[in-house]
């Protein structure tokens, strides 16, 4: 079975048990790592990993090979773990943070205004933060991951992990906004 690609194994999976075994065993470690990094608790991670494979097993007949198997399985693992974390109502550990940009006086309609503001703020992040800072901020605030999970998912090796990047990102953003205010 090892000679077959993932997609060939999927095609064979309808009537070949060993194809499914080979396919899923190729990804056991990857799913285990992913679940552990999100959950940071090996028992919870083990439950999550089983549920991921269970979902994959249930959905496999509908997989038509339009995406790579790794993409498909990653999406299942990602959605399942994120939903599990969010259902546990884990929220960013510090208070809700607001970005306040100087008012440019532009007004269109409300919906466009919101979209425009969000785009400007994303641009600010893109311009002033390094890649790791952006990733940390996105996972912590956007995906509501704990700092511990963010540290683990991104493989951060520094002593204070994601927290340090949050601190530096906020400092940079405050500085950038202050400079924008000074220019207006």
């Amino acid at each position: 079975m090892r000679e077959f690609s993932d997609e060939q194994l999927v095609a064979m999976s309808a009537d070949n048990e060993r194809a499914v075994e080979e396919l899923f065993s190729r990804y056991q470690s990857r799913v285990a790592v992913w679940c552990f990094r999100v959950a940071r608790d090996r028992e919870w991670a083990a439950d999550l990993a089983q549920e991921v494979f269970l979902r994959a097993l249930r959905s496999l007949p509908g997989f038509r090979g339009d995406a790579k198997f790794s993409t498909w399985l990653y999406t299942i693992a990602r959605n399942h773990c994120y939903n599990a974390v969010q259902a546990k109502a884990i929220r960013p550990e510090d208070s809700i943070e607001f970005l306040q940009l100087p008012d440019t006086g532009r007004r269109v309609d409300r919906e466009l205004e919101v979209a425009d503001e969000i785009e400007q703020m994303r641009e600010l992040l893109q311009t002033h933060l390094d890649e790791t800072e952006r990733q940390v901020m996105t996972l912590h605030y956007g995906e509501e991951m704990t700092l511990e999970s963010v540290t683990s998912l991104l493989g951060l090796r520094n002593a204070s992990g994601a927290k340090q990047y949050i601190v530096s990102a906020k400092r940079k953003l405050r500085g950038a906004i202050a400079r924008m205010r000074a220019r207006i």
């Binding site: 994120y82 785009e119 605030y141």
Partner: protein
Amino acid sequence: MSRDLREVLRRGEDCPAPEVLIETMEHGADVPGTDRTKIAAHVEKCPVCQTELSLYRGFEAGEVQADEREAVDHIVGVLRGRAPGPARLPEQKPSRSWWSGVAEWLTPGRMGGFAVAAAALLLTVGVGLQWQARRGASEPVGEADVTRSAVIRGVIPQGEVAEFPAEFRWDAVPGAAAYTVTLSEVDRNVIFHNTFTTPVLEVPVNVRRLVVPGKTVLLQIQATDREGREIAQSGTTRVSVRAEQAQPK
């Protein structure tokens, strides 16, 4: 102007679904119904999508850090070993597909720890499980069938539900390469819209939170082929959460 960071850094309506993003940017695929150039331009300035791609690369690399090794070995051990014996699995009728038997058995009400563990058993090497052939079940049908079946069927759940579903499923459409799903309120205010390559919608928790008990949500699905041509539609499926039930947490 002031924005909550969570609002700025949450997946936006303009962000492609993760599978579309990954297929386009990592595997160079042309996903029907999407514009590669537009996606690439979006990624350039979207920290959410950049982060998604980075995480996928980490998943794909599968590298285990030294301090993760013990936990990962344990989890893999659980995946391979923690399971009851095959005798406790649901009885299969010889004429039924193995997959459909498992899927039917795993209804939400029976998704307890045992069910999960038992199902995990099905995945592991060396399990003595009765295997029922499923020949023909997933074979694509001819073009004539596609033409006849322009309606997406089997959308579940629908109607009145105790809580807003975490997942919608529908029958796969032969020849479909992508499904575009829209959830909207009765006044057509869209609360979710995205494209997927499989006939499953896992509803994000933040979308589920938007659904007020007693209010009806409309689900519409459009199936497209590899060239992006529409080949089937679901019509409008209505789902509402019973008013007396609490919203999902």
